[in-house]
Subunit: 369 residues, 2 copies
Amino acid sequence: MAGPDLSAIIASLPATVPFVGPEVIERKTGIKLRARLGANESPFGPSPKVIAAIAEAAPDVWTYGDSENHELKEALARHLGTPMETIAIGEGIDGLLGLTCRLYLEPGDKVVTSLGAYPTFNYHVAAQGAELVKIPYDEKDRESLSGLLDTVLDVGPKIVYLANPDNPMGTWWSADEITHFIDAIPADTLIILDEAYGETAPASTLPPMALMRPNLLRYRTFSKAYGLAGMRIGYAIGTPHAIAGFDRIRNHFGVTKLSQIAAVTALADQDYLAQTLAAIAAGRDEIITRARGLGLKPIVSATNFVAIDCDADDTYATMVLTEMQARGVFIRKPAVPGLNRCIRMSVGTQKDIALACDVLEDIIRKISR
Amino acid sequence: MAGPDLSAIIASLPATVPFVGPEVIERKTGIKLRARLGANESPFGPSPKVIAAIAEAAPDVWTYGDSENHELKEALARHLGTPMETIAIGEGIDGLLGLTCRLYLEPGDKVVTSLGAYPTFNYHVAAQGAELVKIPYDEKDRESLSGLLDTVLDVGPKIVYLANPDNPMGTWWSADEITHFIDAIPADTLIILDEAYGETAPASTLPPMALMRPNLLRYRTFSKAYGLAGMRIGYAIGTPHAIAGFDRIRNHFGVTKLSQIAAVTALADQDYLAQTLAAIAAGRDEIITRARGLGLKPIVSATNFVAIDCDADDTYATMVLTEMQARGVFIRKPAVPGLNRCIRMSVGTQKDIALACDVLEDIIRKISR
């Protein structure tokens, strides 16, 4: 007996998951991972002040967190120089993207994104019964602003999604180019600008907070540079009108108390963030140097990972990935044409990078292209 | 400029929230709360082992939590004596109720619940464009099993919601009565059995785990007896088929790493739970004794709160509530006819209860009925 019918849209969805986590890989393969460089986490960890604040607040977790995330919104408003009413807090960007799809999408609506861009966003779009239109990356492995714009003008989608800097390629556009793109998008199309990797990018990458448009929502997170992936906390920035929408459907007490405390404390320790950003930049350089030394073509990155063009086809890159995983190094690779010649390695500690690059070197030398 | 249109259903929703949190009340009134007895949290806190585990794991929060919540599901399966495949983990029962509504409800579907039952569930139903049919509580302040069943048979809803024990009244049905109810509901109606207060109820209240039906989902939480409200972690129990549905739409990495660790550790410390349950039972008795001493009519409760019938009307009970709040005691009251003669006080520490009951006594003596 199958039980009551799922809704028609849900019944049509596959039972797949957007990403197979490293713990799941370990359980499936029985191989204990020695380096965790596949999820773009920050092994430099959260600030020691955050660790102390979590430990100190642990006895208080019997109370629900503040449903309005007031203290965090206040701190973000001050830090960013934008009113509290322009900020919504959620369970990571993943959670906020899911809410955004539910707010705006109806069955049959079109959504424009890049072929190979964020699978979790696509997963949330599918759950609304909306239709994805995917544009190839450009010849420089960037999300194609002109391709996205042309398609938006052509199909009139409800939403266009763009990550800047981009994941999985690590490429980016300047704030000026992004602003021109935003201004060219019609007012009835919502622009989702995913800035998850904003902190690790050159200063000229992020448009100023003053760039408020009724059809623009920007997304940021404490999961990457701030080293708080496991705390699930991110935020969206937009006009007060757009931001107020989240209150209609969000899980009001959904962000944990410790996550709110951790985020406030992390934001206050900008010295630690600067230190982390320097370590990430150094690690990026190290991966690029090592990869070039192997005759590979790493792609210059504004993020905390490096996409490495293996200078061959999907089969070859997949073989490299599989072999890395078999030797306990967790990395990922894009699956779609145009990008699937690459593997993607997150910036780890010096030890992690050395281990991963040694393994990579050994594999490259053994596999003939 | 209002921005792109929200979906038709979302546009029709009010911008209200299901519950105004205590921090919000403090900010709005400027009154610092002295006792927090309105959200049915557990001031006895989590086990000291949980507090230690959180502090110990704090440096590791740079990694995402396990997307499959494997260790927690394994521990729950062992504890409950039911296969892992019958358990789904989510961001509290609130999160799981939201997902359930999204899985099953289409616009125009009917949902049967009790008038005065869980507002957050109703909020999630409204977000799907489904229609609530609300049945009054019975003369003993219980959710009316016969009323719910008759209405289910009459309107053929997609979902029927029942909490056992009940919130906000604290009343309950026996496992046998619940089982008879479940067996009388047609197979195409999903039964949501909310057992958030299951741990604090008499042993005869919860049907055995063997009660698996294709149209039954049961919900439990670490927020109440386990003292982990701020960690946002709960679970649903059902047939493997029904449980698999959650994987189609849930935020796969949405439960925080520390929440998973806290829940596993809490579950392992059943001695601490027993100690908490004894303290809750004693606190319940104390509230009942004090209320009776004031000539009020507390309702015997299977939960960690007591609904107190003020033996007058809504206006009177609201006056008591408002006055309590003005004096820094956070409690709540039901708003609907039939229940609105009551205030609801969570079981606090002995000190909290003494404070709250002293304030209540003072108010009752001053306000003439």
